[in-house]
């Protein structure tokens, strides 16, 4: 948790550094800001040494109903957003929003899960738990991006894909698999940001890209903690233990190289200040898109595949012949 002014200053410095990469000399300005940052830091009461945040506290923060949701981020980061509806096969799934947006004057395609703010909206949006048609609508938007060379920004915030009869009847697993596969082949840059809950396959169905960013208090897990608790601990109420065992928070994910960068949240968390959160995310997305644009397409796709190819931890063993 850091002071809002510090977060703001750090963001400005990062911005200036990005400009510097383009050949503009801003070292004097950067130095000035850094000095200011230093003074500010010294004035503040000493911050206790960073402790590893408790996994369950993070889960609760990630699920805080006051956190900014996808449409909030879009409103705060984009100049215009033209939402597209429907998968043109079955239905329009309001648990996923997709559309064209203007980001820093450039057209991008945005896809993301959308939770509701109140009961009525949550029923309509199914608490951000998408059906196959949501993933197929997203795929439609991804293909649109590819046709016109628009970069893709994907914002992830879902408890899970919806575990229901309709979802199964229309092959939710197949829809997720198809999206993941197509995202590897998509011939435009993709930046992913996990903004709240990265719930399982439902998250990964929008989650393959060239860069994966994660908000400081977001979570990302193979199964929701309640599900893991029900299966491995035989008791859904043991979700806190399951969350701690699975390690679902950003620092672990960064260490495991599943994500590339942690986006700092202001104050007690994103829910306390939507504007600063969105500004921090916007700065990071802009910086990454800029870097990705310079990479030739074939290389970009190769790097994307290699990035995910490298994920996993196993031990190299000594080979022997068949068991005696």
């Amino acid at each position: 948790m850091s002071d809002k002014r510090i977060v703001e200053l750090e963001r400005k410095i990062r911005e200036l550094r990005t400009f510097s990469e383009d050949g503009i000399d801003l070292s004097a300005e950067i130095e000035k800001l850094e000095a200011k940052l230093q003074t500010l830091k010294e004035q503040l009461p000493p911050v206790p040494a960073p402790t590893t945040p408790d996994e369950w506290d993070q889960v609760k923060l990630a699920r805080n109903p006051k956190r900014p949701y996808t449409l909030d981020f879009i409103r705060l980061m984009m100049d215009d957003f033209y939402e597209l509806h429907g998968d043109q096969m079955y239905a329009d799934d309001a648990a996923i929003v997709v559309g064209l947006a203007l980001f820093e004057g450039e057209t991008v395609v945005v896809v993301g899960h959308q939770k509701g703010r109140d009961v009525t909206e949550n029923i309509r949006r199914n608490f951000g738990m998408a059906h196959p048609e949501g993933y197929r609508k997203a795929l439609r938007a991804l293909k649109l991006a590819e046709r016109f060379g628009f970069p893709v920004i994907s914002l992830i915030d879902t408890p899970a894909a919806y575990p229901g009869t309709g979802a199964e009847e229309r092959n939710i697993g197949g829809a997720i698999a198809q999206n993941i596969y197509e995202m590897f082949k998509l011939r435009v840059p993709i930046v992913i940001a996990i903004t709240g809950e990265g719930g399982s396959g439902g998250a990964l169905g929008l989650g393959v890209g060239d860069r994966v960013l994660m908000l400081e208090h977001a979570i990302y897990s193979v199964i929701p903690p309640e599900g893991c608790a029900a299966i491995l601990f035989r008791d859904a109420s043991k979700a806190p233990e399951a969350a701690r065992a699975m390690k679902v928070t950003a620092p672990t994910l960064l260490e495991l190289k599943v994500i590339d960068e942690i986006i700092p949240e202001p104050g007690e968390g994103a829910h306390t200040d939507h504007e600063t959160t969105a500004a921090n995310l916007k700065e990071a997305i802009r910086r990454h898109l800029k870097a990705l644009e310079r990479i030739p397409l074939e290389k970009l796709l190769e790097q994307r595949a290699k990035k995910f190819q490298a994920m996993g931890v196993f031990e190299e063993l000594e080979e022997t012949h068949a068991r005696e």
């Binding site: 979802a167 939710i172 590897f184 399982s200 029900a230 491995l232 196993f314």
Partner: protein, 304 residues
Amino acid sequence: MAIFKRKYFKLSLDQPTGKDDETLWMKCKACGELVFKKRVRENNNICPKCGEYFFLTAPERIQMLVDPGTFEDISKPIGAADPLDFADQGGVPYLDKVKKAQEETGLSNEIIVGKASLNEVSVILAVMDFRFIGGSMGSVMGEQLCHAMRVAADERRPFILVSSTGGARMQEGILSLMQMAKTLSARQWLEAAGVPFISVMTYPTTGGVQASIANVGDITLAEKGALIGFAGRRVIQQTIKQTLPEDFQTDKFAYEHGFVDRVLKREGLRQELSRILRFFAGISRQRREPMALRILNSGRSHER
């Protein structure tokens, strides 16, 4: 850190795997009849009395599918690691669970990948074993699958995957989720090389595997008695607070909803695969360029 490096055993179909089985008879869980185990094994692990399908272990499955004496284990010598220090409720460390599964099955991993001939067509085969921690996909399975697809693409051999899995291996946390992406990224090699991929879903093919590699075959088959779906039955019932119909997520369900091309009896699977492979016999004579590149190039020549 272990002082002695763990050893890796490759599978040989001539060697028995698993614990010695001393009982001669078993009781069928479906009809309740006592049946002679040898008869069951000779009958592809199908109850001779009522036709109920029992599990096939991966070695049994391979034996059933390939030409005798042609199987060669091509797996990488790797073993599970425990990056999260994971212990379940009983405090059992993850690697102890792996070790126990190895002892019980006689296998190194939950998946076997190899080269073999199937009715004289040489193929790459990947077969999961449900006995091994529910055939769940962690970093090892992900790596073995990618390796198998790499070899299939390089050597232009058809790739056959037989799934029998509960899904992702939760004990490896987020890394198990990422194996879905990892295996799907490798699936591109098959496409680029023009190598056919036949996916066979058996009891069960669920969770993270159903939502990834098992679902992107060129041709998808279900074995009779298969269970195919993403979310577990219990989870769905809890969510919708309704009892699900008997046939939910069954082979019939998957076929009627259009997930699979055909449902096959176990004894017919080998013949069916062989028949399908014949249609792809000419692929080595075809151009190797990926389709996307061809479309792009033809567009260019048109401009000129």
